[in-house]
């Protein structure tokens, strides 16, 4: 399953190189803001180049197992290892994260308050996110998972909008509540991995083997305490699920998201929607579905847990879309549309077939580009108008034609127009889900229609109608904004016309996941 050790330590370099930038920035005097920004750009650029190299050159397309694998002992007495590797599920997300962070530096170029602290925290955030995607040891996974919390808390709380303090602590409390459940499940999994303390493990690879062994056969979970009528696996699944669900966010754990998005500065919203939400979906696949496959699939059929996941996905889609429709704030609208999109991920995961999982993974990546683009676009207009009220805009297309056309691209990608990136994920997720939950899938399509409706209404209200005098002098998209928007715009088109550059990479890993959950 695992190739030989990667002697170049490529993944470690991708993950940890921003730390060098952090130290460099910390040693730079506070007043030299240009130097600090250049350093930040350089040290998010390095991982981006390395990640692109990893994705397009080093990654062996067509293999399912973990690649670019590295391992060494961290704490021997507790069998904690520094263990990293990527497969088709994590590699695209690493690339996406590096791209988002690089763009985030440029979109934050105008930051004035506490420049040094801002970019130090941004680099720390990149370390945490990349670390989660590459770690194959649960302990390491958890350390990286929590490492993201503090920078995000400060980035929202210090550089955010008027209600930033409330939004920051809400984000922190919600996420920590989820994290501690993950921690409990992690301790329980470690202790149940073997009766012999010398054989216990945190390795996700080994835990997956243990979890996939049928109960009663040698090598399955060692001790399985039943609590309140639920088995050990179900409890761990539940705790891990809530931890990840808060990140996704799954209804009813989503209420931190609109607050955080609205208050966060543009670049942080981009990161939040673009990649932080993806950690939840990724965690569900990497831990829940891989280590506890029989919770969702038993005796050749879906369990009530899988159906529950599908129901939650449907609620996310329909509820998210309707609430988005009711928003008057442009940014909040985009935030709730993210809730709806994440519903397709859940629905795809619940389907547990190749189409569904492909749809979920494509949505993870493509929502990363389209929502990042939308938040950047909202940032562009907010910088000029200093408000985000949809009702107060109108006729912007005539003043800012380039901006308008870029916005159309982002919005049409987001509402799933065929030929653009968003379409593939949604259609595959629905296709996969139709096989298992026809009724829920039918209900979900309501969300699809509502999404199209509110996005089209937004286009009409913001860009069409009579040109307003007060927006006349607005400059169109500047060069800096172009550089931020262009990569996402390009990806929206490329991934729409040519999704193979994602699907071929993901395919084998998805097939193997399907094999694990629904063995023939």
């Amino acid at each position: 399953m695992i190739e030989t050790m990667d002697s170049t330590h490529l993944l470690s370099w991708i993950t940890l190189s921003p730390l060098i930038g952090m130290v460099a920035i910390l040693l730079t005097p506070r007043a030299k803001t240009d130097v600090i920004k250049t350093l930040a750009a350089a040290f998010t650029g390095i991982p981006l180049v390395l990640a692109a190299w990893m994705y397009f050159a080093k990654f062996q397309v067509g293999t399912a197992g973990y690649q670019l694998y590295e391992v060494f002992d961290w704490v021997k007495t507790f069998h904690i290892q520094y263990q990293v590797g990527v497969d088709g599920l994590s590699a695209p997300l690493v690339l996406l994260n590096c791209l988002l962070l690089f763009v985030a530096v440029f979109s934050s170029w105008n930051v004035e308050k506490g420049v040094k602290g801002y970019f130090v925290l941004l680099l720390l955030l990149e370390v945490g996110i990349n670390g989660v995607f590459v770690s194959l040891d649960l302990f390491l996974f958890y350390v990286y998972w929590e490492l993201m919390l503090l920078p995000m808390y400060f980035l929202i709380g210090i550089w955010g909008g008027p209600r930033r303090e409330y939004a920051a602590i809400k984000f922190f409390l919600y996420t920590l509540a989820g994290s501690v459940l993950i921690l409990i499940a992690m301790v329980a999994m470690y202790l149940s991995s073997s009766d012999d303390p010398a054989q216990r493990t945190f390795s996700l690879v080994k835990l997956a083997q243990i979890g996939q062994t049928p109960i009663g056969k040698p090598g399955c979970w060692a001790s399985l305490p039943m609590l309140f009528g639920m088995t050990f696996q179900h409890w761990c699944f539940l705790f891990m699920f809530i931890g990840f669900a808060i990140k996704v966010p799954v209804f009813p754990f989503h209420t931190w998201l609109p607050d955080a998005h609205v208050e966060a500065p543009t670049a942080i919203s981009v990161i939040l929607a673009g990649i932080l939400l993806k950690l939840g979906g990724y965690g569900l696949m990497r831990v829940n579905m891989t280590v506890f496959p029989d919770v969702m699939w038993q005796n050749g059929t879906t369990t009530v847990w899988a159906t529950g996941l599908a129901v939650l996905g449907t609620i996310n889609i329909v509820y998210g879309a309707f609430v988005a429709m009711a928003q008057t704030d442009f940014k909040k609208l985009v935030a709730y549309s993210s809730v709806a999109h994440m519903g397709f991920v859940l629905l795809g995961l619940a389907a547990m077939n190749p189409q569904g999982l492909s749809g979920a993974n494509l949505t993870l990546f493509n929502h990363g580009t389209s929502s990042a683009m939308l938040f950047l676009l909202v940032g562009v207009i907010y910088d000029r108008a200093h408000h985000r009220e949809i009702a107060k805009f109108g006729g912007l297309a005539s003043h800012m034609p380039v901006y308008a056309s870029l916005a159309f691209l982002g919005i049409f990608t987001s509402l799933g127009l065929p030929g653009l990136a968003g379409f593939w994920g949604e259609v595959l997720a629905l296709l996969g889900a139709w096989e298992r939950y026809p009724i829920l899938t039918a209900i979900s399509t309501i969300g699809l229609i509502v999404t199209a409706a509110f996005f089209l209404m937004t286009i009409r209200r913001v860009f069409f109608g009579p040109a307003q005098e007060k927006y006349r002098g607005f400059p169109d998209v500047t060069l800096r904004e172009w550089t931020c928007l262009a990569p996402f715009g390009a990806l929206c088109v490329i991934a729409g016309v040519f999704p193979a550059f994602l699907l071929n990479w993901m395919g084998p890993s998805i097939q193997s996941l399907v094999q694990i959950i629904t063995p023939k």
């Binding site: 007495t77 929590e146 210090i158 920590l176 202790l191």
Partner: protein, 526 residues
């Protein structure tokens, strides 16, 4: 071996205590010669003595033989580990005292001597299994602490703190001493292991530790243990024996508060582990079952209940605090709760299943190891937090969370380090506090019937986030222009920053490279 050679050999094993006692005397003498003119010289003399003590403890590790010294003290790695923590804490507190602005106007000549004497008491406390010496050590530590708490003679709050501490302390000592006398009366011994065997016979005679008899003698022992627990609970400020701590912590000079919350608490937990290690966790082989029954479910349940109340109360009360020292006082009540949960796990032993599928207890030192590790982490993060409080009150004259508004931008190094300590106190990686909490969780989870306590512990961590990060919020979320405090001169900013940064690096270091500390802790035997 004749008695002279024996005495010689024994004296060689208590050098740390001797060096520290001499340091106390020299500090007194130095103050006498200087006639109270320059207390800083006395401070440096003390520092030198403490550093020498630390060096001696460190080099004693290899030679510890685990046996008795003078028939009353134990020379084992467990004692040395705790002495190392105590002496290192004393070093930091000494340095903080030298640079604490509040001491600049009061003559504090004899302060250092008393501080060191308290630590000598703590040394004896953690290295004895004899109830009499245990009590003597505890009283040396306590009486010195009462004096230390009142050292800001012109500050009425400091005086109030000293009196309050004294009154409650004497009461607790009395209860504990009565408990000891009951233990002696019913078991006929003042040695912990012998008391332990007697307790085991009396209370836990049933196989598998399930059906124990509680006759009059057993009742007497149980009352003795509970009364002793009251004394211990007072020292570590466990609910419901915590009443003194917020007022004392707030009123006492900040370095003394630091000493009470870190050094004194560390020593007390050393004593608690020793006591329950002797009284509860003695191995008895039950003939018919053929395996060892270890641990006392009843005692574990009592300790778990106290731990649960302590952590919950500490965290909830801390949310309401405005004064930073008071907030940290309640937070250290909560941390005492976490560690008591580890003690409960230690006392409960671990659950195992024998060949017939029956559950039984096995000896588990994991609980004790987890507490020891947590203490090392707590040592760094709490010392660090108090050092930052000292720094901010020196430099900006602000001791309230609200008064700290915007100071993060003016003192970025100290406040950035505080963020690290707060992370660690909350138990978030990559810090020592997280590893400590994880270790505790693991110990509690494996103990029989204590899983609920593990869940409660992590829920408490979420609550604690709220008030810890209120500090960070005030320091950083308010803009620089909102800072109302004005800078003061002679704040020893550089000296204090050095301590703070060193402790922050330690907190991160033991969160990332934990093998060394883990191995050290696992080599301890109670």
């Amino acid at each position: 071996m004749d008695w002279l050679a024996q005495t010689n050999a024994d004296v060689g094993r208590i050098w740390p205590e001797i060096i520290l006692s001499v340091t106390a005397l020299v500090a007194l003498l130095s103050d006498l010669l200087l006639k109270g003119r320059d207390t800083r010289v006395t401070g440096w003399v003390t520092t030198l003595g403490v550093v020498f003590t630390i060096y001696w403890i460190a080099r004693s590790f290899a030679g510890a033989h685990g046996g008795h010294v003078f028939g009353m003290m134990l020379d084992d790695r467990f004692a040395l580990f705790f002495k190392l923590l105590i002496a290192s804490g004393l070093l930091v507190v000494t340095l903080l005292s030298m640079w604490f602005r509040g001491f600049d106007h009061d003559g504090i000549g004899e302060y250092y001597s008393i501080l060191v004497t308290a630590a000598v008491g703590a040394f004896f406390l953690v290295s004895t299994d004899h109830l009499l010496l245990l009590f003597l050590g505890l009283e040396t530590l306590s009486i010195s602490s009462y004096v230390l708490a009142g050292f800001l003679k012109r500050d009425i709050r400091s005086t109030e703190a000293a009196v309050k501490y004294l009154v409650f302390g004497v009461l607790a000592s009395g209860a504990m001493l009565f408990g000891f006398s009951l233990l002696y009366g019913f078991t006929g011994s003042v040695r912990l292991p012998e008391i332990g065997s007697a307790v085991q016979r009396l209370l836990l005679s049933g196989a598998h530790g399930k059906d124990f008899h509680l006759d009059a003698t057993g009742m007497g022992v149980a009352v003795g243990v509970i009364l002793s627990l009251a004394g211990f609970g007072f020292k570590v400020a466990a609910f419901p024996f915590h009443f003194w701590s917020p007022d004392v912590y707030e009123g006492a000079p900040t370095p003394v508060t630091t000493f009470l919350s870190v050094v004194s608490k560390t020593a007390s937990f050393g004593m608690i582990l020793r006591f329950f290690g002797g009284v509860a966790a003695t191995t008895t082989v039950v003939p018919d079952a053929g395996h060892a029954v270890v641990g006392s479910p009843a005692l574990a349940a009592v300790l778990a209940a106290i731990a649960a109340m302590t952590m919950t109360f500490g965290n909830v009360a801390a949310m309401l605090q405005e004064n930073a020292k008071r907030l940290l006082a309640y937070s250290s009540i909560a941390h005492a709760g976490y560690m008591l949960a580890g003690v409960a796990a230690f006392v409960a032993g671990a659950d195992a299943i024998d060949a017939h599928g029956d559950h039984y207890n096995v000896a588990s030192l994991t609980g004790a190891h987890a507490v020891a590790f947590y203490l090392a982490a707590y040592f760094m993060m709490n010392l660090g937090a108090f050092a930052v409080v000292t720094y901010l009150s020196n430099r900006w004259g602000a001791e309230t969370v609200g008064g700290w508004a915007g100071l993060g931008w003016k003192s970025p190094v100290a406040c950035g380090a505080l963020a690290v300590f707060l992370l660690s106190l909350t138990g978030i990686p990559p810090t020592a506090g997280f590893v400590g909490k994880w270790y505790l969780l693991q110990a509690i989870w494996t103990a029989p019937a204590l899983q609920w306590l593990a869940v409660l512990l992590v829920l408490n961590s979420i609550v604690s986030l709220f008030y810890y990060f209120r500090m960070a919020k005030s320091l950083f979320f308010k803009g620089e222009e909102e800072a109302t405090a004005s800078p003061r001169k002679h704040a020893y900013a550089f000296e204090l920053s050095t301590i703070v940064v060193a402790l922050a690096v330690g907190t991160l270091w033991f969160g990332l490279s934990l093998s060394w500390l883990m191995n050290l802790v696992q080599s301890l035997h109670v």
